[in-house]
């Protein structure tokens, strides 16, 4: 059973429907006992980093998240749920994250000149370049298109965490992998067949 953490932010139904579509049972929950019983844990998230972190704390999810990761359960962070795993973010001031992975969340830099103009948020379909093929990326073509929507990106303190990179103003970590943690800046639940394959792989990850 996959537990999708409900902290009042995020497109929980989309993530759940994605898992259900490819035959993995998933529940949306904030009950610590249910999270402890789950085989896999997902931390989704949309919105501002500070608000998301405040809600994760308010709903008592910090300890269950730590327990799941220490127990070695496959853990998936998505978008802000990916960013929350790191040390801190500079979005609207400075905010501490869960500190499970070393690194900082920074703003995508504004275009330097008009000729190389690009819009922020980074919104739409962009390619991932696979650097370190994490188990959830099995059967994913190396230059696949996935769906992004974000104005901040993660700069991991250790390069070996980077699983895929994507270019948009900067070359940033579009996913990271460490032991049982896999996390994506993109939205697998919105990335059509490629995204469902990632969810399927994650659900089968032991």
């Amino acid at each position: 059973m996959i537990a999708i953490l409900d902290y009042g932010m995020g497109n929980l139904r989309s993530v759940q429907k994605g898992f259900e579509r490819i035959g993995h049972e998933a529940v949306v929950t904030r009950d610590p006992a249910a999270i402890d019983r789950a085989s896999h844990v997902v931390l989704p998230g949309v919105g501002a980093f500070g608000d998301c972190m405040a809600n994760v704390t308010r709903f008592g999810l910090v300890d269950p998240i730590h327990r799941a990761i220490q127990a070695g359960k496959p853990f998936l962070g998505i978008c802000v749920g990916f960013q929350l795993l790191f040390t801190e973010s500079e979005e609207f001031g400075s905010h501490k994250g869960l500190g499970l992975l070393p690194g900082k969340v920074k703003a995508i830099p504004l275009p330097k000149d008009v000729a190389a103009s690009y819009k922020i948020p980074h919104m739409g379909w962009n390619t991932i370049h696979i650097e370190k093929p994490a188990p959830p990326l099995q059967n994913i073509d190396p230059e696949s298109y996935v769906y992004f929507v974000h104005s901040y990106y993660v700069e991991p303190a250790a390069q070996e965490l980077v699983s895929t990179r994507t270019d948009y103003g900067v070359s940033f970590a579009s996913s990271v992998w460490k032991d049982n943690i896999f996390a994506t800046q993109f939205h697998p639940e919105k990335s059509q067949a490629v995204g469902l394959q990632v969810l399927k792989n994650f659900g089968e990850w032991q």
Binding site: N11, L12, R13, S14, K17, G18, E20, R21, I22, V46, G47, A48, L110, Y118, K119, I120, P121, H122, M123, G124, W125, N126, T127, Y145, Y147, F148, V149, H150, S151, D167, Y168, E189, K190, S191, Q192, A193, V194, G195, L196, Q197, K200
Partner: protein, 265 residues
């Protein structure tokens, strides 16, 4: 590389597709979910539902449509039409929408956009702007005014200033419809689209007037749009989304190539 997006838009009334979608081989072309699945298979980059349900009692029909769509289609879904309160937004997002498009309510109460962006994040707040040319449109300096209620009500707001203000209030994207071009199939209003796109740093979706594939191309090049919204050219199968993408790709516009259907995973 970030690709330009093609977004088919469906008008939905009382839970049914209106404005004649004619798909051959589609069991129920009136069901928004079936049409959404077709566009999913063709490689649409996002979907948009515009809810034009008039009666208050039937307003919830769109929620059911969104729930059923989210079970079948795994790409971003924007829902617009009649959104006036934070509760309206919450219910749509909870049903499975990824973004909501706010039009009249933004004009009536601009602070609503700020409240919505603060609560739900800018990434899901699209501000829809219906604009009409109000200067001599052949002249050197062009001006456009914001209209509401399908172009009937003038607001006195300058469209370029309004787009900037909505960005400052937290809008994550602008859905820009030219009331002059809408329904003409003569092409998008390129000066308007370029003026707004130059004035804001958030993505702009061009809407209104698409009739041919070169129109889409011009919206991205001369209009500087990040995405194009189109209805009838896809609904009547004048062109498939796949054809549009091949054409644009050949012209050098970055496009996401055709994708395998979700059913193959």
């Amino acid at each position: 590389m970030l690709t330009k997006r093609i977004i088919p838009c469906l008008d939905v009334k009382d839970g049914r597709v209106v404005k004649g979608v004619s798909f051959v081989n589609l069991r129920d072309a009136g069901d928004p979910v079936h049409v959404a699945q077709v566009y999913d298979g063709e490689g649409a980059d996002e979907l948009c539902f515009l809810d034009i349900t008039a009666s208050h009692e039937k307003r919830d029909t769109i929620l059911d449509v969104v729930v059923r769509t989210a079970e079948q289609v795994f790409m971003p879904l924007t829902v617009g039409g009649g959104i006036r309160t934070l509760e309206d937004i919450r219910r749509l997002l909870e049903a499975g929408a990824d973004k909501v498009s706010i039009n009249t309510a933004a004009v009536q109460e601009p602070a609503f956009v700020k409240a919505a962006a603060t609560r739900f994040g800018s990434q899901c707040i699209v501000v829809a702007i219906d604009a009409k040319c109000v200067s001599s449109c052949d002249g050197d300096v062009q001006e456009w005014e914001v209209f509401t209620h399908g172009g009937r009500n003038a607001t006195g707001l300058d469209a370029v200033c309004w787009a900037q203000r909505m960005m400052d209030f937290g809008a994550g994207e602008i859905l820009l419809t030219s009331m002059d071009q809408d329904g003409t199939k003569d092409g998008y209003d390129l000066p308007l689209t370029a003026a707004i796109s130059d004035a804001v740093t958030i993505p702009v979706i061009a809407s209104g007037g698409a009739g041919t594939l070169p129109h889409l191309y011009e919206a991205f090049t001369l209009g500087k749009a990040d995405a194009v919204l189109a209805a009838s050219i896809f609904h009547f199968q004048t062109y498939s989304i796949g054809q549009a993408k091949s054409f644009l790709s050949e012209q050098g516009i970055p496009m996401r190539p055709g994708t395998i259907p979700v059913s193959m995973v």
